[in-house]
Symmetry: C2
Amino acid sequence: MSNQETSLVDFADREKVLAISATLFREKGFERTSLREISKACGMLPGSLHYRYRAKDDILVDMMRLAIERIISGIVDATVSVDDPLEKLRAAMRAHVNILMSGNDMVYVLLFEWRSLHGTAHTQIMAERDRYEHYWQTILDTLKVKQYIREDIDINLIRLIGLGAVNWVATWYKAEGKYSLDQIGDAIWQMLTRGVLADEHHEAAKKL
Amino acid sequence: MSNQETSLVDFADREKVLAISATLFREKGFERTSLREISKACGMLPGSLHYRYRAKDDILVDMMRLAIERIISGIVDATVSVDDPLEKLRAAMRAHVNILMSGNDMVYVLLFEWRSLHGTAHTQIMAERDRYEHYWQTILDTLKVKQYIREDIDINLIRLIGLGAVNWVATWYKAEGKYSLDQIGDAIWQMLTRGVLADEHHEAAKKL
DNA sequence: GTCTATACTCTGATAGAC
DNA sequence: GTCTATCAGAGTATAGAC
């Protein structure tokens, strides 16, 4: 465990190593994946892997750093050109679900394996995760300011609840299932915004 | 690893051992908790712990069995005497959040440590988790049948999304935070049912 | 930069005296 | 039922030849 103030990692096949490790971490979990497995899957020997990362923890930290970059730029790309605030939120949800579930195991690891981080690495990564959540907050802020959202609603709670619904998708989504990722993103968006009640009960519920 | 068809476990201090183990698993994760730690925390030596559970996995499996019993009976207790279907859903959400976050680490372990299960134990526990989700499904079914829920909504998705929001609370809830567990449960319930849009936008959103 | 070989620690699991 | 003592193996990490 060498939690030195981890500086930037730089070597030729960094992304390849991280991508392969991420797949293993996702399938088996960080603790249940050995360095021998990782190096074997990368086509190198443990010594060579050690040349890149002095400690196993460092792989995880570097992976999470990259994952945060990826998810942030993914969401920004998907939303930056959308003007309507409600559609912007929808685009963000779709993008988040898609990035989490298809193509990028690092993001999954970021969201589900943070308990494996020790010491300073933990606080550092958590701070970067906050940076991501902050972007969501700006989207929701706009909705609030433009009075799309009811006065009595705390948008911090919306963010936490919305991200919960969205992240949990990773525990139940099946590629061969009934719904596409976009459909799932839309469903969460719809529920969050419109709710699920039929009109007459929606009116009645306001009085509760 | 002795994943024999694990039969009922029975010894005097079973619950004490499981409760202590659950706290450790919650704090550090299953893999990062050693049998030596567990036995020490239980005030016994590794040999004595081994007398109760032949393998580490067996502790986890037995814990999850008990956790499922607890969460099911907790939700049933909280909802069985509530007649109004919407209030029943609200009571269930409150109960789930409360059980998950206060007093029962086993339930947390059940929800977040299932990836540590191997082989037949995995499928068995998953089957029992389905039993729990099925109870939610009956609550939602009633809402649908009584036409509280719009025709175009799939209640399977509601269940998955709702449970996601509720379970994810475990990753961000702080006891000293702004909201009580009941308030959080209510907020999720409200969002799921009513949505968060202001009235004029709610009307407009129907056309999307 | 990459490999071989290995050091050292800790793990889960066990055997057997009491 | 509980303890002591120990096993075999896996884990991370390292040293040093090439």
